[in-house]
Structure formats: C-alpha cells, structure tokens
Amino acid sequence: MNDLSAENANNIVLEIKNLVTEFPTRDGTFRAVDDVSFSLKAGKTLCVVGESGSGKSVTARSILQILDSPGRIVSGQILLHSLRGIASDADGPTDLARLKPRSNIIRSIRGREIAMIFQEPMSSLSPVHRIGNQIAEVLRLHEGMSKKQAWAQSVNLLDQVGISDPAAAADRFSFEFSGGMRQRAMIAMALACNPSVLIADEPTTALDVTTQAEVLDLIKSIQAERDMAVLFITHDIGVVAQIADEVVVMRQGKVLEQGDVFGMFENPGHPYTRELISGARDLDQPAAQRLAARASRDIGELILTATDVRKEFTISKSLFGLRPDKIAVGLKDASLELYAGENLGIVGESGSGKTTLARCLQRVYDLSSGTIRYSDRNGESVDLGSLPSSQLRPYWRDIRTVFQDPFGSLNPRMTVAEIVGEPMLVSGELSGRDLQMRVEELLELVGLPASAAQRYPHAFSGGQRQRVAIARAIGPRPRIIIADEPTSALDLSLRAKTLDLLLSLQEQMDLSFVFVTHDIAVVRYFCDRVAVMYKGGIVEVGDSETICSDPQHPYTQSLLSAVPRPDPLQRGNTRVRYSESVD
C-alpha cells in the first residue's frame, strides 16, 4: 500500500444502502437481492462471497443497472460519491438506483466511473471485432478521442496489463487469445477511462490456477497504482483470503455477515461462514480416514504400469494424402505406476493431458505408442495397449470409470436400475430378480435409498447423480477405479462427502484409485501419491504430502504457489512463475 491510498483509506467511493432487486416471474416475484448494504472505499477490495444463486452477481449488476430482463431495483440507494466533472460535494452523491437504465447519465457512468469485468473471458468479448477496437470504443465514447488516438491508447493499455507485443495483439480477435490474455484485455478495457470503481464478477473462475494468480496480481497492482475501489465477486473462499480487505458473505439474497477479512477468518460470526471456511480448510489436509486406513494396511503389489505412453490426435486429415496430416500430441511418453490399494492423483491444468492419460490407461483411446501392463487377480500380466479391442471387455470390468460430469455420464432415458445394472446384465452375470437385488445393494453402498432404482436421472441432484455413477462403477467388483475430476462439478460442501464415500468404498472393496484433478486441495485430501502433468508430460511423481510441502520441479512449485490458501495470514507467499517454451 502506498502513501496515497493510506491517506484516503476511509474515502468512501460507492455506498449501497438497503438495496432490493427483484425478478417478477409467472410464479410470483423472486427477490434476488434482499436489503443489501455495504460500501466501497478507494484503494480497497471488498469481496462478496457466496454460492451460486446467492444474489452476489445480481448485486453487482444492479449497481450499473445492467440487470437481465425482467430484473429491476425495487428500493434502496446506490450512492456514487465521486463523479468527475461534477462537484460532488456541492450536489451530494448521485443515487444510481434512481436513474433509468437507458438514461444518458447512467451510460456516462458505465465504463467511465464504474467499470466491470466478467467471468467468461471468451464470451465476454465480441468474437468478430478486433481487441483494439473493442477497447478503443470505450475511449471514443467517453473521452471523445479520435479513432487514431483511441487505437494508440488501446495499445498502451494492453501494454499496461502485461500483454507482450501489444500493437500486434490489438489487431487480433478474442479467439486468437488464451484465456488469461482475454481476461487481461477485459481489464485493459475496464481501465481505459481510469474508473474509480472496478467491479469484478468472478473474473478468475474460468481460469487455471496459475493464470488466476497472475490475473489477481494484475488487479492488485493496478488497484494500488490508481487507488481504485474493487468490488470482487467470488465463490472461492481461498481467493477471498488472498485479496480481500473486507468481506461480505451472502446467501439467498441476504447479507449474512460482513467485516474485516482477518477478523472474519479468525472468528467467523455466522455458522454459514464457518462452514465455508472450514469446508475449504478440511480439504486442504490429508483425510483422517485415509491415514487411518493406510496405518492398518500396507499398500500392495504393483497392478498397473504405464510405460512411455504416447497419444497423438489427428487434427485434420489431408485429402488424398497430398500433405501430411496435422497432428497434435496429447501425451508425451508418460510413465506411471499404480499399486494395489493406493490412491494415485494425476494433477494438472486444462490441456495438460491428464484426462488423455486416464483414458489411455483404460484403453478407451488407442495408444500411439507405449505399453500399459495390468496384472490381473491371478497375478498374470497383460499389455492393455496392444490388446485387440474385442478382448478388452474383461479388463474393463476390473478397471472402471467415474466421469466428471454427472449430467452427461448417465443416460437420461434409462432408469437408475437400468444404468447401474447394465454391466452385470451385458456380461450375463445377473438378471431378473438377482440383478434387482444387486442394484439395491449397490445403491445402499453409495448411500441412496432403494426407491431411487425406478427413477430417471433427471430426478436427482448433481451429488446424487455422482453417487449413481459410483454405484455403476463398483457394480462388477472392480479392482481399479479411474475417477476423472469426479468432484469438480459439485458444490464445495459435497466434495468432501463424495471423497469420503470413495474412501469408505476403498476399504470395503479393496479398490485402487487413479484420481484425475486440477485441484491441489483434493489431491492432498484423497491421494497417497501424485503425478504432476504439464503440457502432455509428467514432470514429477511422488508422495502427495512431500510434493505439496516440498515440490522439486519448477512447474510444481509455480502451481503450488499459485493456489490461494484459505487463510489471509498466508498472504504474499512469493509466487514462482514457470513457463516453458515447448514445441
């Protein structure tokens, strides 16, 4: 914090008083924001935290009056204290809530006094306009710049947000940018008119954790430079702990609690806040259940060994073989070992090849080269990689999968009984009454009532669906379960429960897990060992606690240093940056 902002520390820029926003629907009026009050101070960050549907995003949109139809502000005040060009003290603050959404005044405030950035950096930028033009538009609109001036200033802004070769970048389109670059461009656009308030609506949710850390750093540094007030909307308690000065906790449209970030993490007042914070902290340590199980029984023999597995994808086939096919390497000679009874994590960011590796392990994908040796119950070893696909079926009963998306992985046209019973039915193992009893037994194992059997998947929530998927996976009494991000589609509160379910099944059924995830906290909770993947290759394998506390590879170091810890006292850890020019 520099001197300037310290001086203005209590300078309130924007004040929200008793805001109520409603959405009239056919079934009655839905009150999305219910009596919300808070204030933003210059140079400070206020985090609004809550789960989806808590009204945090609607609050942010109410400020600029850009609510989706039919939403409208019913009562309350949104007082903007600083309005450039207008003597704010003489006229008093402007109440944005009273302005008409299409009025000239609110339009002159949007993008100039208060700027906003959004969650989806891809779809928040127009796909058919050059990045430079999209930024220049704001300058021409509010600052009255000429086309040329505005373009030059856009290039300048892109430079300020850390985009290399800004002149060339301004000339490009959003789909030619990576996710992080798009969000930087959005920030450049928001900064164009030097606003006094920046509203950031989950700006890092769609980004990988290392990119998230960079964007958060960027927002921080710009805020310090310009003494901006930041309203940061997020569902991630870790992010809150890292960046907030003040925190507002929202649920069902209401503010449950607000206050200083250190105080709140130290001593949360509301049970819901406590639950949020402990939910994040619980996951950030090894599961007690797992440690107890490992203490009583040792890890067994080697059962699955992947050696130099390579997978290439054909991007476009050339017609008549005139030129070589375009090939992308999804997996570069990855080697991995899985022992009986252990949980092996595969961690990496999007595009690192972790899902490709998981699918290769099971021979869902054919390998380009390499071997996958599986030793079966009788100790006989077979190479799944070179087996003809017609002979894979018995091994697919030993190695089962739980998919990431519980909505896509269950056939909506089949009942739960049909879904769970399918593997036993097609193998001819069980049918009729026996099958029905086995399905009920499996449902009970995963904590679902027997009455669930006759229902269709649409009757269940995400967490329940994932239980159905787990029941299907354990049906044929497998030895290995490959779980591909099974918890990332679930709410935080359900993650630990689902993981605990998997751990208890492991004890009952002697399972080994290959657990694919992007979430370091989940690795720490669930996995005994972990393999870290980066750009299609495995950079580091080892004991998960050791890797989490003492990473060796620079990429692992950067990954770990980027993870936002749910503790404001652990701020300012030195960030390790890692980038490798591959290809």
Partner: protein
Amino acid sequence: MTDIDKETAVENSPQATLAHASQWRLMWYNFRQHRLAVFGGIIILILYIVALFAEFIAPFDPHSSTSKNVYHPPQLIKFIDHDEDGGWSFRPHVQQMELNRDRVTLEGNYTPVSGRKVYLRLFGKGDPYKLWGKFEMSRHLIAPANPGERFYLLGADRLGRDMLSRTITGTRVSMSIGLVGVTLSLVIGIFLGGISGYYRGAIDTVVQRTIEIMIALPTIPLWLALSAAMPKDWDTVTRYFAITIILSLVGWTELARVVRGRFLSLRAEDYVTAARLDGGSQSRIIFRHILPSMTSHIIAAVTLAIPAMIMAETALSFLGLGLLPPAVSWGVLLLEVQNIRSIAAGPWLFLPGGMVLITVLAFNFLGDGLRDAADPYASKGH
C-alpha cells in the same frame, strides 16, 4: 446426510411422478404446452382420416361430370327448411341453381331456381364405389336425399365435376405421397447418415461431399428432368411410386444430415463411452443407448420434411410432369387454374391450393412442437 434428506423431500412432493417419467412422457408434457402444435396435430389427423375414407366422405364420384353444371358456383348448406306455409323443420338442403346463357355473349350465369331445393341426408345412397378397391359400397357421408340430384358445396370445375369430392379424393394421394416419400428418404438418410456418422473417415467424407453438392443443386429443375424421363404411358400407380422415388432421391439429404449430426454428438456423450466400458456390444450400444436418444429428433425432422414433399408433388403435377389426369391429387386439380380464363370463371378452383397451405402449416406447427419437445432434458440439468 443432506443429500438423502433432499431425496426424501422429493419423494413426497408432486414431483414424485415426474421422477418416474420416461422420455416419452416428459416429451408429451412438453408437447402439450405447445398449443399450436397440438392443433396442427389434430388437423393432420383429420386429414389422414379423410384420406383413408375418401370415397365415403366425398359426396360424389370425383370423375362424374355433367355439362349442365359447368363452373357451378359453391352452394351454402341451409339447415332450417321454411316451407310455403311459413312453418319450418330441420332439413339440411341447398338452393338449386340453373345455368342460363346470355344469348348474345354466350356467357354462362347461374341463377337460383325458386322453390327447388336439393335435400341432403347423412349416410345416404349415392354413386357406387369400392372402398380401398375392395368393398363395394354406395353410402356416402352426405348424399342428396333424391338420388340423381347434385349439389356443389365447393363448386364445380369446367366439366361440372364436384370440387369437394375431387379435393377429398386428392387428399389421399397428396397426403400419402408425403408420407411414402419421406419414408423412402428416411431409409436412404438413416442408411447413409448412419454409416457416415458411425464409420467416419473416408466414407463420411464421401457422403458429406455428396450431401453438400446435392443441397447446392436446385431441386425443381432436377425433379422436372427426372419426371420428364418417365414414359407417358405408365399407369397411375406406377407413376405414383416413380414420383415418390424421384422426390426422395433428391430429398434425403436433410434427413441424412440430421441423423449424422445426432449420431456424432451422441457418440461423444459420456454415457455412450460409459456403455462401451460397461462391456456392451456394438449393436447394444447403438440400439439400447444411442437410438432411443435419436428417435424423437428423427420424428421431428420427418414431420418437418413431409410438407416439402407435398409441395413438390403439387408443383410437379401442376406442371404436368407429375401425376396425370385422371389421377386426382391437389396438384393435378390445380392444373385447372393454369390459365386466366378458368381462374376468372371459377375462383373456387383454388381450393386445393388452400388445402396445400393448411396442410403445410399444420405440419410445420406440429414439427416445431415436436422438435422443441424432442429433447426433454435440454433445459433441465444444471
């Protein structure tokens, strides 16, 4: 566990029935909301019933002509019969009309014959016919009470043939040609779209390029050229099937695209991969896991493809290259309005065109409704 609490809550709510609802029932719930689609469906049902019992519903033989009633204008049914004493009774009838020719201009003009009424009765005896070419019958839905009399609710053509009977008879050919043509297209479309979507690779490329070229070609000139290749001396039934084949040879592309597109997107679904990992055979994956998700989309696409077939047959017959008289279809009937003179003499000859319009509208409404209802899971979920 809160998870389970939610579960039991669902059990006791009115949503419990929804939880057990299969895809067809969910689709029916969705479809019912679509009033226009239900309305369109009812119209189409009626049209097919009319097509099925055309001979019975038509009051007269569509081919029986009379020079007395050339371009006879439509008559209105009156239900209450006032007799000369001022009393009345319920007797449906029409006012009889007579052709008078102007001696100088020779222009025909119909005038009511006072006191002469043609009484109508339900299920009366009329022109004999063979229902479905098998059962000899002579009862009609509506017939003149005195056999031999004629009435023209929708007017007559230049040979004095009853347009109502002709339009009803035309319904059979026009409505069925759409159905048969689409069935043929569907067979071609499922076969080519299916292998294209399933095997991908070179086969897919060839089929796709073929489809693209076919879509880029103008259909009517092709249809015309193919129809012109039919010998004129073929009988009606042969021509009918030749035309359906011609229509479907050109019209299969859209259905093939739908089938292939659905196939490709379903192949990528996690639950299809899951079915493979469950150990299902190729055929089980296709018939148990993929096909049930496609049928509703195919039905919707088929419904939307039928009107194009009907319009094409109408156009071909209208140009004299489709079905030929004495066969009766809406297109053949519209041959009568090809010249200005007959249009001016009998604007009611447009009636079959009106039928085409209503039919196509009804199919479009129904198809839109079916398409919207085809994926009852799309809006739910997340």
